[in-house]
Symmetry: C2
């Protein structure tokens, strides 16, 4: 990894930290992009060269961690299992990318529920890869089936994240993710698993 790239990542993290620090103190709406840029020691223009929007700075995933997760996907770490089980573990791996700041993010969404949709936007970063992965493992690359599997699995994942209490341990979250995906995979029409 070149030096230029390392600097860029450092800047990214500086801005994000500054943003979440301010947001966790004052709340999302009470912090302007100007404030964040100043706190991070860059200009407003530079802020927008790193993050496409104010929401993004609160919810985007760390580029390096994301890249590492993509590597897991490419290497087919879980490919010895049946589709849904492998998918479950991939989502557990995604959950591992959300540590540290997840409590803050949850408080942000609690405060202004309108941002729940923006929060979902952070999935856009890994969604295409995951969809392609599913499609590859499905007969014919059936489009409808692919979309359905991906969307419902994602919904189960989001349910787990929303249900998790930040006061509980992080392992609790991983277990919740497994539970939700197991239930969804087993069929929600059945009374209870």
């Amino acid at each position: 990894m070149g030096l230029r790239e390392r600097k860029k990542l450092a800047a990214w993290r500086t801005i994000r930290s500054a943003a979440l620090r301010l947001i966790s103190e004052r709340g999302f709406d009470a912090v302007s992009v100007e404030d964040i840029a100043t706190e991070a020691g860059v200009s407003r223009t530079t802020f927008f060269s790193y993050f496409p929007s104010k929401e993004a700075v609160a919810f985007d995933l760390d580029p390096l961690e994301l890249q590492q997760w993509r590597a897991l996907l490419e290497d087919g770490v879980h490919d010895d299992r049946p589709l849904w089980e492998a998918l479950t573990e991939l989502f557990v791996d995604v959950a591992r990318l959300l540590p540290e700041w997840l409590p803050v993010q949850k408080r942000v969404v609690q405060d202004c529920p309108g941002l729940a949709n923006s929060a979902r936007g952070s999935c856009d970063s890994f969604a295409p890869d995951l969809r392609a992965w599913i499609s590859r493992r499905l007969p014919d690359g059936d489009e409808l089936r692919t979309a359905l599997v991906f969307n419902t699995a994602l919904a189960a994942f989001m349910t787990a994240v929303e249900a998790w209490d930040p006061d509980d341990s992080f392992d609790e979250l991983l277990e919740l993710v497994r539970t939700c995906l197991r239930w969804a995979g087993a069929g929600l029409a059945h009374p209870v698993s």
Copy 2:
């Protein structure tokens, strides 16, 4: 229904029609709220008293139709069936609220994918009622199970809407909704239904 209320609904529909007419001509980004208000013969301020945002005017559901759907829910039209089957039919009923402008809305989302999240926002109007309905029909009102059932069913529904080709008949959409919910309910871990 009082006269005042009828006028309000009429105004709502006038603004929405104007908006979708302009948007389908020029595209979402090329139309400003100013343009829409002018086309509808009202002021910008009035526009925002009817719609909380520019996205809302493209995606919100007709208040009257929504109210009628709520009535279905209250009357328990499908309550003689098992939970998931009843839920499926309720989503089919929701789908019936999306006729006319759905093709335009799909084109809008195609053009600027960033709006896919906003599109999801139109579900906020019926989501609370539906969640409560599910919770009522679940033992103990189990919160996690309620969230999971609701979120995955919604995901299946959205999958059907996204998969539907506007050139196909509307019944095709209703059938897609049933198919997606049946698959999701049966359990996606199983190879194929």
